[in-house]
């Protein structure tokens, strides 16, 4: 039986975290291939709806990473992120979303090794939880229809 491989969506800020991920690659640091990266100009661009949409549409975990506070390329963007996403994270937990499914991080452009560690940790902590079913939208009827109509057209 195949081990469950979680789908992780990572929102990385262009100037620090994305560059850090790139450095991890260039330096050949190994990390699990489960993360799909979406580049945002700044972690301050993060709309809580992005996290919700990701979870609703089948992501098993969401990661948001930006520059360290004080080092934002746009001076103050990540200060707002820190407030906005911390509040949202706590509300998600209160609503019953497992805390392992959302990770908020600061990774700078020179922290390639740390990025690799971060991804390893995220994937490790989500694997035991299994696929995200309770917080994702129920597309089972559409999936069934797709399979059925595929079969009948063969």
């Amino acid at each position: 039986m195949d081990e469950f491989e979680p789908k992780v969506i990572g929102f990385l800020c262009n100037w620090c975290s994305y560059a850090g991920a790139d450095l991890a690659g260039v330096s050949r640091f190994q990390y699990p291939p489960n993360v799909r990266i979406i580049r945002v100009p700044c972690s301050g661009r993060m709309n809580p709806l992005f996290i919700l949409k990701a979870l609703q549409n089948g992501a098993d975990a969401v990661l948001v990473s930006g520059c360290h506070p004080g080092d934002c390329h746009y001076q103050t963007g990540n200060y707002y992120t820190r407030r906005r996403l911390e509040v949202f994270y706590r509300m998600l937990q209160f609503a019953g979303v497992p805390k392992e499914r959302v990770t908020l991080a600061w990774v700078s452009a020179s922290e390639g090794a740390q990025f690799a560690t971060l991804i390893k940790e995220v994937v490790e902590k989500v694997k035991p939880l299994g696929p995200n079913q309770s917080f994702s939208r129920d597309f089972s009827d559409l999936e069934a229809y797709a399979n059925e109509s595929d079969r009948s057209s063969e």
Partner: protein, 288 residues
């Protein structure tokens, strides 16, 4: 004379004075409908003030009516939570202080559909108005919250799956009529995110998952702006328990940033501001 009648006489006197001496063009308050229910009403003249009342059935937050009349000079009666809503609206630039004449009064709490004191009022920390142009003196309702009976504390202590079960159950009830949004004075966006279709954030379908997106996002948009008046909870026709999530939201903002909405004029809402040394729980922060 019973205290509520006495209060109503005082309110009417001050309202008449507001028409005569303070130049208001209309007064926002409550009156009794045909069937005895207290409902919000607009009074356009000195004579109509005879119908002004307030009682514990006044479950509507009058501050949600202020923006539609913002180019006129408005008089209104306001107790604690309504005056705090006005402070938030003033801080967000939605109305001019010069256009408001506020008749403040102490509140004894309002009741829910079952005639019990509403859950927002049980926990009320500000029954007296925080801003007013004239004030009726008196004591407001005393805080009666009982930690043994507090759903927020109970949910905090539960496991993740228990919390998810409770939340899912509440979300199944929602019919997406948006009464909560309309009743809230702070939900005033010209185009709400649910009305946007490029991109489409959530489908119209009132199923549990879409309802979760609606409610969680509305709460997030109210973080640091909600005064926990309970108008949304009272407006909901399906009895979705919105108060427990809004109370938790307010507690989180208070705990993290020491901020409660609507207490001081001239403040920025909590999520529109920052401190370089805000509490930081992110992975990878300095020193960890």
């Amino acid at each position: 004379m019973n205290p509520i009648d006495h209060l109503n006489n005082q309110l009417r006197e001050l309202a008449r004075k507001a028409f005569q001496d303070n130049g208001i063009e209309l007064l926002i308050g409550y009156q009794k409908g045909e069937d005895g229910i207290t409902k919000p009403a607009i009074f356009y003249s000195f004579e109509q003030v005879d119908l002004l009342i307030w009682d514990q059935q006044a479950s509507f937050n009058l501050a949600s009516l202020v923006r539609r009349f913002r180019d006129k000079k408005i008089g209104m009666i306001a107790q604690g939570c309504v005056s705090r809503s006005l402070v938030v609206l003033l801080n967000e630039g939605q109305i001019n202080r010069n256009n408001l004449f506020i008749i403040g009064f102490p509140c004894q709490g309002v009741v829910d559909r079952n005639q019990q004191l509403h859950s927002a009022c049980i926990d009320c920390q500000h029954p007296l108005p925080v801003i007013q142009d004239c004030l009726i003196e008196g004591d407001g309702i005393a805080r009666q919250s009982d930690p043994a009976n507090d759903l927020v504390i109970e949910l905090n202590n539960q496991s993740q799956s228990e919390r998810m079960a409770f939340f899912s159950q509440e979300m199944k009830k929602c019919i997406r009529c948006y009464a909560c949004r309309q009743a809230c004075p702070m939900c005033y966006c010209d185009v709400c995110f649910v009305d946007i279709n490029k991109p489409l954030w959530l489908a119209r379908t009132p199923d549990q998952q879409n309802n979760s997106v609606w409610n969680l996002t509305r709460m997030q948009h109210l973080a640091g702006r909600c005064v926990a008046c309970g108008a949304c909870d009272r407006a909901c026709p399906e009895g979705v328990n919105l108060m427990v999530y809004l109370k938790k939201m307010n507690q989180v903002v208070k705990e993290l940033y020491g901020y409660s909405a609507g207490l001081h004029l001239g403040e920025k809402p909590a999520l529109n501001a920052f401190q370089p040394n805000d509490p930081d729980f992110f992975w990878g922060k300095e020193g960890v």
